[in-house]
Each structure stands twice: as structure tokens, then as C-alpha cells.
């Protein structure tokens, strides 16, 4: 995957490719993409009387960076959980690379190359950083109990895995922490470790749940650089994000969720100019960098307080 990619000489960058493929699409919910890696149809997840997710149709373009935004409680994380097998949908189908994923359990989804991270970072605290990394590697012979008892059977693979892990740690500037317990890393370093570990699993589609939450500005920039690099390596990235500057900065396409449904889609510029988006989301927390601040804030406050009221 990443190995056989030669960084762009004359060829256009993957970013340009992705942006060209997505340009000219109608900015409306459910618009078909030229080359979707993930296709979602009528996915519904209810918690009692509350419909947390209700997505009629959504496609994710291969090789792009897609941001999923929306207010708290819009169903972004629940959608992630459902798609990756960590939660069960009440209805709906979704296909990844043409394979139906609905009904598969989380580890099967991951093995197919659709790997996620979590909003609350899950560093394996009492494992060393390098062990965290090695764990991520797929198809390990030594993970079978009986084979594991005979080191000769897995030592060579372990060396290859370690080599790959060390390369990734160097790339994510975690090599200095290689032999520390993951629990000793800072919050930002844990985010980096979680992303690096997910890459060990050889994903084609990486789903990042708030990768920059709680990360200091300097580290955030480097994290965003890594996400961009993933796209250059040919991966597809879907990420949940609240920081509109980040969304604007790195995403090729933006999906806006509200009350469980996709309320808008489009390029970052289109979405941020969309009155419905400003109304449903941006208005409430909106800063002066965006156009039509005054109107958006006023109407947005109204919907936000309504939404909060109905959640209680």
C-alpha cells in the first residue's frame, strides 16, 4: 500500500485528484460519488424513543479526506460505532469495497481494512509503546495459542512487524518513547500513537473520531500533516471534527449531520456557505471567520437550545 506509492513527481498529488473527482458534484445529501469506497443505505439506530442515526444514503469517495461535522448528539460517533461493528444497527445496509459489512462484528470489519480510532483515546496503558504498535499488525501467526508457544514460528514475522512499527513510530515522532509504557504518554502523544497503531492494521479506510480533540496547537498541526500524508499514501480518511478551521484546512469533502441524519454535503466552501448548515450547526458556536456571522448566530442559538431541550 504505502510502500508501492512513489511520492508525486510529475503525477498530480492525491489531494488534487480527490478534489478534482469531487468538484462539480451537487452539494446535497446523498449525492453519488465517482468512486465510492463506502456506501451507506438507510442506516437507522434507535435508543429507545430517540433515533440517534438515520442516514438515508451516503457515499465516501475513495482516496479522499472526508470530514463529518455536526453538533453534539448529531449521531456522528454512533454512526462510526454502527459502521465499524461496535454497535448494531436497527436497520440498513452498508458496503465497503463492494462487501456487505452490516452484521459483521468489529474485529471482522477491522480485518477487512476499515479501521477506526476512538474519541476517548484508547492507549493500552500498561503495554509499551512498541507493543501497542506490534499488536496492530494483522495476520500474526503467533496470535494462535499453540503457534505462539513456539517462537521459531513467529519470530521472523515479529521482526518484520517491529521494523514496520519502528518506521511508523519515527514518522509520528514517537520513537523516543518506544520503550515507555503507553500510559506515560501525554494526551496528544496518545492520539498519535492510536493513529500509528491503527496504521499497523493496514487499513484502506481510516475512521478517526475527533483526532485533534485535546491536542495542543503545535501537535495538532503535525497531526493534520500526518492525515494529509495518509491521503498521499492512498488511504481514505473519514474523521469527526468540531474545529471548523481544521475541517476547512484538510478535508476534500464535508458531511454535515444533524439529529441523526445527513443534512448537507459538499466541499468545505460549499458547506460553510450553506444556510441550512449555518442554521443547524455553525451558528451556535460560530466564530467571526465565517460569513454571515450575525444571522447565523441568532438563528443557530434558537435551534441549539431547542435541541438541548428535546434531549433532556
Amino acid at each position: 500500500m504505502s510502500a508501492d506509492h512513489t511520492p508525486g513527481t510529475a503525477a498530480p498529488s492525491r489531494m488534487e485528484e480527490a478534489r478534482r473527482a469531487l468538484s462539480g458534484l451537487a452539494p446535497e445529501p446523498g449525492v453519488p460519488k465517482p468512486d465510492p469506497i463506502l456506501v451507506i443505505d438507510n442506516v437507522v439506530r434507535r435508543f429507545g424513543g430517540l433515533t440517534a442515526v438515520n442516514v438515508a444514503h451516503l457515499e465516501i469517495q475513495r482516496g479522499s479526506i472526508t470530514a463529518v461535522i455536526g453538533p453534539n448528539g448529531a449521531g456522528k460517533t454512533t454512526l462510526f460505532n454502527v459502521l465499524t461493528g461496535f454497535d448494531t444497527a436497527d436497520a440498513g445496509t452498508w458496503t465497503y469495497n463492494g462487501h456487505r459489512l452490516d452484521g459483521l462484528r468489529a474485529h471482522h470489519v477491522a480485518r477487512m481494512g476499515m479501521v477506526r480510532t476512538f474519541q476517548l483515546t484508547k492507549a493500552l496503558s500498561r503495554l509499551r509503546v512498541i507493543e501497542n504498535m506490534r499488536l496492530g499488525a494483522p495476520r500474526q501467526v503467533g496470535e494462535n495459542f499453540l503457534m505462539g508457544l513456539i517462537p521459531a514460528l513467529w519470530r521472523k514475522q515479529e521482526e518484520e512487524i517491529t521494523e514496520r512499527a519502528d518506521a511508523l513510530l519515527a514518522r509520528f515522532r514517537l520513537d523516543r518513547m518506544r520503550d515507555e509504557f503507553a500510559g506515560e504518554l501525554s494526551g496528544g502523544q496518545r492520539k498519535l500513537l492510536e493513529m500509528a497503531r491503527a496504521l499497523m492494521a493496514e487499513p484502506q479506510l481510516l475512521m478517526l473520531d475527533e483526532p485533534t480533540a485535546g491536542v495542543n496547537p503545535a501537535l495538532k498541526q503535525s497531526l493534520l500533516g500526518h492525515i494529509r500524508q495518509l491521503r498521499e499514501d492512498g488511504l481514505t480518511v473519514v474523521f469527526v471534527e468540531h474545529d471548523m478551521d481544521v475541517v476547512h484546512d484538510i478535508s476534500d469533502w464535508v458531511v454535515v449531520m444533524g439529529e441523526g441524519a445527513v443534512v448537507a454535503e459538499g466541499t468545505p466552501e460549499e458547506v460553510m456557505a450553506n444556510p441550512r448548515v449555518i442554521d443547524a450547526y455553525l451558528g451556535a458556536h460560530h466564530d467571526s471567520a465565517l460569513p454571515a456571522a450575525g444571522d447565523g448566530a441568532a438563528s443557530g442559538n434558537g435551534t441549539a437550545s431547542q435541541g438541548e431541550g428535546s434531549e433532556r
Partner: protein, 345 residues
Amino acid sequence: MNWELIFSSSLSQAFGAGVVVYALAAIGLNVQFGYTGLLNFGQAAFSAMGGYGLALGVVTLGLPFWPSVLLGLVAAVVLALLLGVSTLRLRADYLAIATVAAAEVIRRVFRSVSLSEVTGGAEGLRGFSDTFREYGWALGAFLDRIGIDSPLQRGGALDVGPFFYTGTELWTMIVGWSIVAACLVLVWLAMRSPWGRVLKAIREDEDAARSLGKNAFSYKIQSLVLGGVIGALAGFLLAVRQGNVAPDNFHTQFTFYLYAVLILGGVARIFGPVVGAILFWFLFNFLTNLLAELSRSGVLPAGVLDSTQVGSIVFVLLGVGIILILIFRPEGIFGDRREISLNVR
């Protein structure tokens, strides 16, 4: 005050076959709790499968020795599967509740009057360990023939320094410590392998392991089975050492002793359970012998401590000791303080 006897007897027991039982059962529990984070509060039930498997096989079913041993091991696997499949998809605490309940249910079933034809009721079963002892005497006879005088014979005894063991005890120790060594090697090999890495990852965060393509449920079942089978070996040794099994050998407090052993020795350390068991059993016997002697010789007058209270006081002291360990050395003897004080999220 007979200090020599107090020390000699406590030391002998600290390496005797009784310790082997605790060490083995704790090695099993260490796999489940220490490495995988499974709260098994019913290790006593797995040991009961081993002990009663042998006893029921030989006495009630009339099977030969080895098939009966196998029966106990299979029973432990079945118990692990029953408990695991029903609770391991749920939150961690459900396994704790199910195991402690199952252990009590099993003990009470073995104890019940209506089944006493089969299980011997509260008295339990005896008369199944002859074959085991015969093997010991056979070894003794063989050693005799090649000119080595061993205590491995009826009425034989080993008396070296402070240590004193009867022939039967010695034979049980030889077998027991060999099994302990084999299990330690097995656990050591398993835990340094990628398989063990997955277990530790599940202990830290099951969802993280699943998100990386590991079938956490399957690994938890495997861990429960491995720990349970080692627990059954402990029960088997308990049975042949005593020459009988009784339901109350497998009381819930047996499991709690094992947790004490793990806390003492250090959780998720290869040698933790063994050193913990030796220390636990030494302290237990030392305190019992010491207090009994103090009371008997009148150093402590009957108004302060009479001999019937010794048993309870020992547990009070051990309890205080464990609390002190948790406060001042939470990592146990072998643990890593840095590791234990990490904020686990």
C-alpha cells in the same frame, strides 16, 4: 516456647504439597485475572472439577486413574465454556457474579444430601489415590534397585534440616512442583508470544483490541479455559495429597486466598503466584503455630487469647497484612511500581 518447632513446621509446609495447590490455582488465576483482566471469583469451582473429576471417576464410575484425571480436565474446560460463553460478551463484572455464584452452586450440589450416594455429601469421597501413591512407591523401588536409598516408600520420611516430609507428601511434592514448573514454562511461553500480547491488550482495553481486528471474545474464552485447566490440576493435587475430596475444600474462601497470593506475589508476573503462595502459606502456618504456642505456653493468658481463637486471629492478621501491602507495596513482590501506578484509562 518451642521456636525450633514453630519454624521447622512452618518452613516445611511452605514448600510442601499444600503450597503446590495454591501456587497452581493461582497460576491459573493469574492467566485469567492478571494477564487478561477477567474477574474470576470462582477458581475454587475449577479446582473442584479437577478433584471431583478424579474422585467421581475412580470411586463412583469405577474408571481407571488416568481417564478420571482426564475427566476432571474436560469438566474444567466445559465449565469455562459455560461460564465464558454466557457472560464474556457482557461487561466484566458479570463474569465475577456468574463465577462466584457457579462456584457456590457447584459446592452445594456436591454437598447435597440427596446426591450423597454419588458425591459422598459433606464427607466427600475417598479411596481414589492408591494408584497415584503406587507410582511413588514404584519410583522408590526403582531408586532402591539402582542403589539410591529414598524415602519414597510406605512409612518413609525425609528429614533434612528444618524440613520434614513423609514419603507420601514427598511424592506429591515431586509431582506437584513438576507440574508447577511445567505450567510456569507454559505461561511464560504463552505470555511472551503475540497471543499473550493480545490478552494483555484486552486487559487494558477490549474495544481497542477489537478495533485492531482481534476477536476479544475468543481470546477471553481461551484465557478462561487455560486458567481453568491449571486450576483443575490444583484440585487434582489437593485430592491426591489429602486422599479425599470434600465440598468444603472448594469453599469461596479458597478463591480469595488465591487473590491474596496474587497480591502478595505480584499480579501478571510469572513467578508472582508461586512466591506469593509460598509466602502466604508460610505466614499462615507461622502465625497459627506461633499464636497456638503462645497461648499453650501461657505467655498470652487465656483471657487475652485462648487456643480456639487462634484460627480467627490469624485471618485478622493476614487481612491487615494484605491491606498494608496494598497501601505500601501495591505491586507485590515482583511487580513494577511504575507500571502499577499508571493511570489506566
